[in-house]
Amino acid sequence: MRLLRHIFWLAIAVAAAVCLGGVALYRGEHINSIWLVLAAACTYATAYRFYGKWLATRVAVLDDRRATPAERLRNGHDYEPTNKWILFGHHFAAIAGPGPLVGPVLAAQFGYLPGTLWIVIGAVLGGAVQDFILLFASMRRDGKSLGQMAREEIGKLGGFAALVTVLLIMVIMLAVMALVVVNALRGSPWGTFTIAATMPIALFMGLYLRYWRPGKVLECSLIGFLLVATAIFAGRTVAESATLAPWFTLSGMTLALAIVVYGFFASALPVWLLLAPRDYLSTFVKLGVVTMLAAGVLFVRPELQLPAFTRFTDGTGPIFAGKIFPFCFITIACGAVSGFHSLIASGTTPKMIAKESHARPVGYGAMLLESFVALMAMIAASSMSPGVYFAVNSPAGVVGTAPAAAVATISGWGFPVSVADMTTLARDVGERSLFSRTGGAPSLALGMAHIFARTGGGRALLGFWYHFAIMFEALFILTIIDAGTRVGRFLLQDLLGQVSKPLGRTSWMPGVILSSGLIVSAWGYFLVQGVRDPLGGINSLWPLFGIANQLLAAIALCLATTILLKTHGLKYVWITCLPLVWLVTVTFTAGGQKLFSRAPAIGFWAQAGKLSAALRAGPVADAASTRTLIFNARLDAVLCGALLSLVAAILLDSLRAWTGILRHTRKTALSEAPFVASQLRAGEL
């Protein structure tokens, strides 16, 4: 039996190596997506079985005899021992946001191969390791947060820098996510109507849950889902109506302002009325759609139309400028390594783990599943015709506003596409135009719609599936905006409370309004900046977001390294040091290029310099807009520099701490909670 098991795992490991090698080396006409799926699945299985298990037994030394915080501090609220598979789903639902869907779609401009390899290898050796170690560390410290642990294990500077970095990342994240929604809904009456309809539906759900059927969340979410599906069907009628369509055909700027106003109200209104019901609905829709996408890819097994590498690996890409190194690894953060996960792994999840051994499936396993979702997004994008992919994702500032000019430019890159192709596709999905619909969401929706349509409904339902996918993306991005603005408001009120006590009170309405207004203005400014940017905004904002997210991962890995150093000395530090060194190299290279590159398409200062020179040289078409663009480029540079400085400070602080630990000049005791024997039996869960 044991021999058979060895043979089985050997076969899986060999299959992983063969499939990955095959995918990496194959240069034929087209490759079927099933090879990518097989390569990833076998790699994940091997990594989980061997590397994950080794981390759990030898490095973390998980001990089921030790009571977890969920058992020791059980209070029925935060601390509650939970079945491991339920917690797995709970944790996965918390970590899987729009990032793993949008990032791979954008990174596909380099071809399907670089992003795919990074998604698979990055997750196995970096992302899952970070999530697992952080979850383990927090579990051993009564469920403490990243900031608290950084303060205790590294030093006060680490804790403070983590807090400020989180606030800055949230501002950028909210802006870039809102920009994705704006670009998806711009000039689309069908999509705009559907998303607008989710607001009264959410209000209805809020009242339903609060007063009519209290506590019936699943029932209420099912009704909400049926109403949203009806809204998607009704959206086609609205888009075809000469009277109604103009009401829902909005410009980018109008949509941006609408989202800013919405964000303000969502932050200031009672949470049960709008935010909570939408959050329930979006969680269920998210899990359902991700399952559908995986099933669809396995059923349809689409051929990848994009090449393994495109010509844009040299840094001249239309979607965002910059070479494959470092920008591919910045563009895909969630799905490979995401710093934001460390906040979840040190948030709710450690307080719900029943047995220490559950940290492996929950921490390591859920990250592998998220990586698989990112791979699905990469397949959905790569299975589109390359010409269509670039026509949808290239900003008008690069390919021109006229369809004929755009197709000529894109065909000139070696990706043939015609105006007729794009017109037919737009008609099929119920859009007026699909040119320059930047941000990743529309092209992902197109890819998903094609996969869903091939599993059921055919071309007749392409429009429905496209708008279903847009609704799905917008719904949970807006939920992140609601919740993020609210969390940002609380963080800010914490800070303002140091200056004036009433401003810190979350129940004092003037304080709530002021802090909500400040947070909304901060991300709203970057959103408007993205909308005004002639290159579509994604070019500048997505790399900033990627850099910020990976820098947070660097903070988490610094903490993980410190803990490993205190526990085992130098023996196992390579586990977290390797991904840390890689992330620091990638983010500091990308950050350095965004700051100092002489190419205006990449460097913020170079961009500001080029525009300033144009202003000085003579009259420009719109001097006021040009001045705003110059200011924005300088602001982005300052923000990027601030993020890099914060993380450099944490790195130096960590290095100081590590040297102290190795020289025995610093205390090496861990801040773990003392051992208490577990009384929990498996049957109780």
Binding site: H77, P98, R210, Y211, P214, G215, V217
Partner: protein, 58 residues
């Protein structure tokens, strides 16, 4: 058949956990109370207050 039933039970358990319905049952049990609109509102307010002080992942 048994495995299938166990799987369905797990899925329903997950959905109820995500919907906070399990947490509500635990809350009622812990406080020895009966379900009612007032209890749900009390539980929900506390639950949501804690939930939305934490960042959501991207």
């Amino acid at each position: 058949m048994k495995d299938w039933r166990r799987f369905c039970k797990l899925v329903v358990g997950l959905l109820r956990e995500l919907a906070d319905e399990n947490a509500y049952v635990r809350y009622l049990k812990a406080h020895g109370r009966e379900p009612s609109g007032e209890e749900w509102r009390r539980f929900s307010d506390e639950r949501l207050r804690r939930k939305y002080t934490r960042a959501k992942c991207c």
